[in-house]
């Protein structure tokens, strides 16, 4: 099963370097793949957004966001624990190249 792709834009704080998140978003758009992009996973978690429950229930997923421990417990706090196979790519510490290489297997 091909993992779904989720991209977090962290729109309401300057947590992610703008050049990293823009390059990851551009890489996903250019790769022509299907993916879901959300403004801010933290905000969705606080609202217990139903979309998080659906995403967590749909099997393997690759998430481009921030620290895996933070993303894991944000989903948990929204009542949407991530499945074991979920993989979180950390745009706070990894380069856009590394994130895209993992998600779509391309070099930018």
């Amino acid at each position: 099963m091909t993992p779904r792709i989720l991209y977090c834009h962290c729109a309401y704080a300057r947590v992610l370097a703008p050049e990293v998140k823009q390059a990851v978003l551009a890489g996903l758009a250019d790769a022509g793949v299907e993916f879901e992009a959300v403004p801010d996973l933290c905000e969705m978690s606080a609202r217990r957004d139903e979309r998080l429950q659906a995403l967590a229930a749909e099997g393997p997923v690759k998430i481009a966001a921030c620290f895996p421990r933070a993303v894991k417990w944000l989903f948990h706090s929204a009542g949407a624990p991530l499945p074991e196979e979920a993989e979180v790519l950390n745009m706070r510490e990894q380069s856009a190249e590394a994130v895209l290489h993992n998600i779509v297997g391309v070099k930018v």
């Binding site: 962290c10 729109a11 947590v15 823009q22 959300v38 403004p39 609202r47 417990w73 706070r92």
Partner: protein, 223 residues
């Protein structure tokens, strides 16, 4: 907080267009199933982005021991207890933006603020050194009798008043203020949060209510 509206698009959409939608608070699904016809600019019917910076504590239950210190510490009803007696973050929007103080009273480094600057509160993996450092901060707050907020507020009022200059010679007072200054820095409580705190009496009242809640939870659900 309103729900995020979703825009559905065909692959090949430009990153600029995607970014503009995300900045405006839309979620975007890029899928082959999207209609091929151009849709009118969805932002015309859209909500404006959230005014609230999503800043709130998130609990790492792999580390949490359910000690309820966070519940007794928080004056703003952010924490609560589940039906099963487990600590929970229940009122995220009550949390004071950019204030990570409750993470500093957690002896297990189990409280995260994903948008915080520093490790490990931002969700990076907890190292042995982090545990030692955080434990030290808990010790300082215990030394100050747990009444941290009212002392800090008191301190900021005194620092602002002429009274503090007149009593500049008062070494004991100076030392106490010094110590509280360090504590404020160690806990990284923003000045605006201190300035916005209620009166010392009100703080004491709220602290008692919070503490009573934590004690009640511990009594009902002994670990």
């Amino acid at each position: 907080m309103s729900a995020v509206l979703q825009v559905v698009m065909q692959p090949g959409a430009s990153a600029q267009a995607l970014s503009a939608l995300l900045e405006k608070g839309y979620s975007v699904r890029v899928t082959q199933d999207a209609p091929r016809t151009a849709v009118s600019d969805p932002t015309e019917v859209a909500p404006s982005p959230s005014k609230w910076k999503p800043w709130f504590p998130v609990i790492d239950y792999q580390r949490c021991t359910n000690c309820m210190q966070c519940l007794s510490f928080c004056l703003f009803d952010v924490y609560g207890v589940s039906k099963e007696g487990k600590i929970q973050v229940q009122n995220q929007t009550n949390c004071k933006t950019d204030c990570p103080a409750c993470s500093r009273v957690c002896p297990e480094v189990a409280i995260l603020f994903p948008k915080y600057r520093h490790n490990p509160i931002n969700g990076s993996e907890v190292q042995a050194d982090d545990l030692r450092r955080e434990a030290m901060k808990v010790d300082i707050s215990a030394l100050l009798g747990g009444d941290i907020y009212s002392m800090l507020r008191d301190r900021s009022a005194k620092a602002k008043s002429r009274f503090s200059k007149e009593r500049d010679e008062d070494r004991a007072l100076k030392e106490r203020l010094n110590c509280l200054n360090k504590l404020q820095q160690a806990m990284d409580i923003p000045g605006e949060v201190l300035a916005a705190l209620p009166s010392v009496d009100e703080i004491r009242r709220k602290a008692e209510v919070a503490k009573a809640k934590a004690e009640e939870a511990k009594r009902q659900f002994p670990s």
